[in-house]
Symmetry: C2
Subunit: 252 residues, 2 copies
């Protein structure tokens, strides 16, 4: 049964998240500042950048020795060779490498531009952020830390901004999930007229990530958001369930 | 500036939408039943199925003469040949035709399974629904009808459920837009640390469509939803802006 109403609430945070930061403490403080108390039935959305900063997943480009491949691509397209090198290291497969764009498959299996390596919103020139090593584990750890600190265990989704095939513009998607099923299946349920809906599996974690992006914005210091009212399926779900098996991907 | 909070409200409707129905009247009635009065600053989300039914975009399969191509594919994969024929007629290009799956480009330019032809939630066995002929025009007409009937002109998004490359599960996306920019550009805006965000164009219409899906569900008669609090850019936007030019699509 779908809900009648959802609330999506931005949880802004003053200042920058430092390496080693207590992310659960920051979430609870941001929620308190927004006048909200997290509940078990909420979904907490956290940006990749917030998690990566807290986990120290930052690389100073001056410390990176670019390979010949990175240097060539950078020279052809006026890129920073060290930045290109970091992207290559964060990738297990190159999907496209053309016209200055690098689309790769990350070690997690996500396909995205630049392997999720990002220079924006990172303090200090010449520093880039990497995706968390295991973004599902990061989500689980944050959920457990919230349980320890405040006795509350909402579902947690770590979000990042990805491009899509065939459609312009980026959307936020889930790259880490804890405490909920990322896919909600309507297979076998009957619709209004008694037909069987054969295969309708909704990627609700991605829809929640996109919904949260609408209040998080890109520039205004909102690393967290909560969605209240969505009756998610509680279980040990992962964002890896959202990665389509290449052998089954008829869209490729 | 991103908002601090959004509300996403389901607008259920009793009964089935008939061909020729006054969609604006139904929207206003559903909103009133939900205790909501639409505002100019709202975004109204409407399912493709609701629009297609009101526009009579239904085909009785018994009236369709399948081609040899449709008969062959149907025989190979245990499909209804008339259903396959309708999909082919709704397509201008076949992207994949394999293992019983037909991914095509519709006449609008959308790439999706079965050209958006759908048998679920359509009354009467052996009937399928087609996408609106011009879903941007449908959105504009609904917006103008709301303005005429009630003096209110929210942004309007017609939604459908599409699969994605590389990721499991479906999400709702925008197939018709009126009264808002479907893409919101952060290009050139400076982030927290003064760097330029070079290319960040968010597909907010798709994120709004996905957010609304969370309250619309698949089976429970919610053809409409409203999103309140999202500061969209008011202009004559279209869903066609969301269709990526194949020549520029490095992800393909």
């Amino acid at each position: 049964m779908a809900p009648l109403e959802l609330r999506i609430v931005a949880l802004p945070l003053e200042g920058e998240i430092q390496e080693g930061a207590d992310l659960a403490g920051l979430v609870l403080a941001a929620a308190a500042d927004a006048g909200e108390a997290l509940r078990d039935e909420d979904v907490l959305l956290v940006t990749q950048k917030a998690v990566s900063k807290a986990e120290g997943r930052l690389v100073r480009l001056a410390d990176v020795q670019p390979s010949a491949l990175a240097r060539q691509f950078a020279a052809d397209y006026d890129k920073d060779p060290s930045h290109v090198e970091v992207v290559l290291r964060e990738s297990r497969r190159i999907v496209k490498m053309d016209r200055g764009v690098l689309v790769t498959e990350t070690h997690h299996g996500f396909v995205c531009a630049n392997a999720g390596v990002d220079a924006s919103n990172v303090a200090g020139g010449g520093t880039v952020s990497l995706l968390p090593v295991d973004s599902d584990r990061s989500a689980t750890e944050l959920r457990e830390a919230l349980r320890s600190a405040a006795g509350v265990a909402p579902a947690v989704i770590i979000t990042d901004t990805f491009g899509r095939v065939w459609r312009n513009g980026l959307t936020n998607v889930a790259i880490g999930v804890a405490g909920m099923a990322p896919l909600q299946s309507f297979a076998g349920q009957q619709d209004l007229f008694g037909y069987e809906l054969r295969v309708t599996v909704m990627a609700v974690a991605d829809e929640l990530a996109g919904a949260a992006e609408l209040v998080m914005g890109k520039t205004d210091g909102v690393p967290f958001a909560l969605v209240r009212g969505f009756p998610y399926e509680t279980r040990d779900g992962t964002a890896r369930e959202l990665v389509r098996d290449a052998a089954l991907d008829l869209f490729r």
